[in-house]
């Protein structure tokens, strides 16, 4: 196990006393230092990557950001029902990781999935229409925000039970090995899911049977309203891999290139040796757990401090300083992306709802009519 790019736990994280309603004030000097150091490291990682790749990484992150902002807007306007869990702040994780895999590789994730869906190649139209509950949605309107699927691009959902996706991903990876292809499976879950039994059962089997599954823990440090300190006895998640003799890494999730590099190592390990990896990727969500969450468990100050390490701002700063993109190009890209998202809303608005008969379809693949005689 190696510690890549990590900051050692800050004073804030080391605090452990009793039940705390709000975490201590974040060390702003440290964050500013981290930000500058991240940009420096990103510049080093830039060498060897062509401009097109870098621009595409940035474009995808910005698309997710604008899409999620729009989702929040239309949710408040009543167009999206139920739960809506936004990915704002975590874009570098989905984009950096998924940029390293192929169309036929698998992604399995949680209900906070719009980012991974876009990164894997699902259209903004199909996702927005699904959020609106329209028949043109990727799940024909029967899944919603938490259950997006696309078989053609290996996007295996979209799962609502915390940690429920982890055994599923293990099974998809198991199947790849069984079927003799070199596909890998990426499984995304939050740090709170690490406490579920399903996590431990899955990692044990994956290492025991050597399946090519990449377990990506998006440690955004809060499971809904409960901070990591209040939920986990041993908070070093990457270290938990040693219980399974599994390779692991700790990654700075605000640096899309750091995520990409760690993911590349894991993908290679999966394809060449059919071995699993656990990546603990430290990140932060800028919005609440979901649209229903007023977020009383974090201070405004903490959020604003982490926003200084916004992965999109960091990366655009790096790209500008290295001359990959100009301000004008960045603005033009943003303009195009905003138009794409507006188009998705229009598509969703104008699409029809599922017909009433769809209530009864796809309950069974082989429906048996008991009155068949």
């Amino acid at each position: 196990m190696s510690k890549q790019t990590a900051q050692s736990p800050s004073a804030e994280e080391k605090s452990s006393a009793g039940v705390i309603d709000r975490p201590e004030e974040v060390n702003s000097q440290q964050l500013a230092r981290e930000r500058d150091e991240t940009i420096e490291r990103q510049k080093e990682r830039l060498s060897g990557l062509d401009a097109d790749t870098l621009i595409e990484l940035y474009r995808q992150m910005l698309l997710i950001r604008r899409f999620e902002e729009k989702a929040a807007e239309v949710y408040v306007a009543g167009k999206i029902g139920g739960f809506c869990h936004l990915y704002i702040g975590q874009e570098a994780v989905a984009v950096g990781a998924i940029s390293t895999i192929r169309k036929d590789d698998y992604v399995v994730t949680s209900y906070r999935e719009h980012g991974q869906a876009l990164a894997k190649g699902m259209s903004a139209n199909a996702i927005m229409a699904e959020l609106f509950g329209k028949v043109t949605g990727c799940s024909k309107g029967k899944g919603g925000s938490m259950h997006m699927f696309d078989k053609d691009i290996g996007f295996l959902g979209g799962h609502g039970i915390v940690g429920g996706q982890i055994p599923l991903a293990t099974g998809a990876a198991f199947a790849s090995k069984y079927q003799g292809n070199d596909r890998v499976t990426m499984c995304f879950f939050g740090e709170a899911a690490v406490n579920q039994g399903a996590f431990h059962e899955s990692l044990n089997m994956a290492q025991l049977w050597k399946v090519p599954c990449i377990y990506i823990c998006e440690n955004n440090q809060y499971g809904m309203g409960t901070s990591l300190e209040r939920a986990m006895s041993l908070r070093d998640i990457a270290q938990k891999a040693c219980a399974y003799e599994m390779t692991s890494e700790f990654v700075d999730g605000m640096d899309v290139l750091a995520v990409r590099e760690a993911a590349q190592r894991a993908v290679e390990r999966g394809r060449k040796e059919s071995l699993p990896t656990l990546l603990e990727i430290r990140t932060y969500r800028f919005m609440g757990h979901s649209m229903s969450d007023p977020g009383n468990y974090r201070t405004r100050a903490e959020i604003e401090k982490y926003q200084e390490r916004d992965p999109i701002k960091l990366f655009s700063a790096t790209l500008k300083e290295e001359g990959v993109l100009t301000d004008a190009q960045l603005e033009e890209m943003d303009h195009k992306i905003r138009a794409e998202v507006e188009e998705a809303v229009k598509f969703a608005e104008e699409s029809p709802e599922p017909p009433a008969e769809d209530l009864y379809t796809d309950v069974y693949a082989n429906p048996i009519d008991p009155s068949h005689k």
Partner: protein, 327 residues
């Protein structure tokens, strides 16, 4: 035709389906090297190897979910629960993943998985090892539930379950693994899901029985024949979807019904069958439907107490006499 035990019939079904389709594989605790806790999987590891027959750690939630994930991308897993009591640990993956996947993905991901193993009572294994869970699983759209009672049914239904593209919960009965019966030799012999079987024809009273209660009902029917009552015994075989038409056709003929199960009465499968009979055949009933279930207590260890729990031939006879107004 061959005379086989239910255990042997299941073993044959597994062997034939493993040989027929490369994407079928079997996993569970002790299914391989140990030859199966109840010997249902005997010899399969030697014949098919460790890729197709997999011994798992004791990790029900994990391996059930692994099976569902593998099914999503083209494999056809047979997941054995050593007993269905242990399936409770896997319930999240059976109910939230397997049952829902096709629907919530808008028809994209079918789950051709079989969860099989013994359910219901055994002999003095006490409360945690004696539970009948078919009404739990039958409650959920997206799952099929099958319970065979004879060797031929076991073989034919298991083959169909493995070939079916939906999640099938296939509940065997430990007490019945040694029961013998005639089984067709045809390697393509299958029995369709969703079709009930008239195990014995009669004209006075319909007895609907499943799994362990089928031989009990048949014994009771023989005794009742001597008492002047002709019983028709119907085995649904598939609990969900239930072949209510066959049951109703019988009720129209006999006008009297007893439904027997070893599971608890409260919210059980018989409650469902009684309701459907009432909904569809009320006008044909000459007496209220009589429901016999296992006593509504956790299963005790002591032999004499356990014997009081599971319905026996005498309870069935008494019930038939009751709906016939004979006493």
């Amino acid at each position: 035709m061959s005379t086989l035990t239910i255990r042997e019939a299941l073993n044959q079904a597994l062997r034939e389906e493993l040989a027929r389709d490369e994407s079928v594989f079997l996993m569970g605790e002790e299914v391989g090297a140990y030859q199966g806790a109840y010997k249902v999987t005997k010899g399969l590891l030697e014949e098919f190897g460790g890729k197709r027959v997999i011994d798992t750690p004791i990790t029900e939630l994990g391996f059930a979910g692994l099976g569902v994930g593998a099914a999503m991308v083209g494999l056809r897993p047979i997941v054995e629960f050593m007993t269905f009591n242990f399936s409770i640990l896997a319930t999240d993956q059976i109910i939230n993943s397997a049952a829902k996947m096709l629907y919530m993905s808008g028809g994209q991901f079918k789950i051709p998985i079989v969860f099989r193993g013994p359910g219901g009572s055994a002999f003095q294994v006490s409360s945690q090892h004696s539970q009948a869970l078919e009404s739990w699983y039958a409650h959920f759209p997206g799952i099929k539930v099958v319970m065979p009672s004879t060797p031929a049914d076991a073989k034919g239904l298991l083959k169909s379950a493995i070939r079916d593209d939906d999640p099938v919960v296939f509940i065997e009965q430990e007490r019945m693994y040694g029961n013998k019966g005639e089984v067709p030799d045809d390697p393509d012999f299958t029995i369709p899901l969703g079709v009930a079987d008239v195990k014995r024809e009669g004209k006075d009273v319909t007895i609907v029985a499943r799994s362990l209660m089928v031989p009990v009902a048949l014994k009771a029917a023989e005794a009742l024949e001597q008492q002047g009552v002709s019983c028709e015994v119907i085995d649904p075989r598939t609990i969900r979807p239930l072949d209510i038409d066959t049951i109703v056709e019988s009720v129209k003929k006999t006008n009297r019904v007893v439904v027997a199960e070893e599971s608890h009465s409260t919210c059980g499968v018989n409650a469902e069958i009684c309701t459907q009979i009432m909904e569809r055949a009320f006008d044909y009933l000459d007496a209220p439907v009589k429901r016999i279930s296992g006593v509504d207590v956790p299963m005790p260890y002591a032999k004499n107490l356990e014997n009081l729990v599971v319905p026996d031939v005498n309870r069935v006879i008494a019930a038939v006499r009751e709906v016939s107004y004979m006493d």
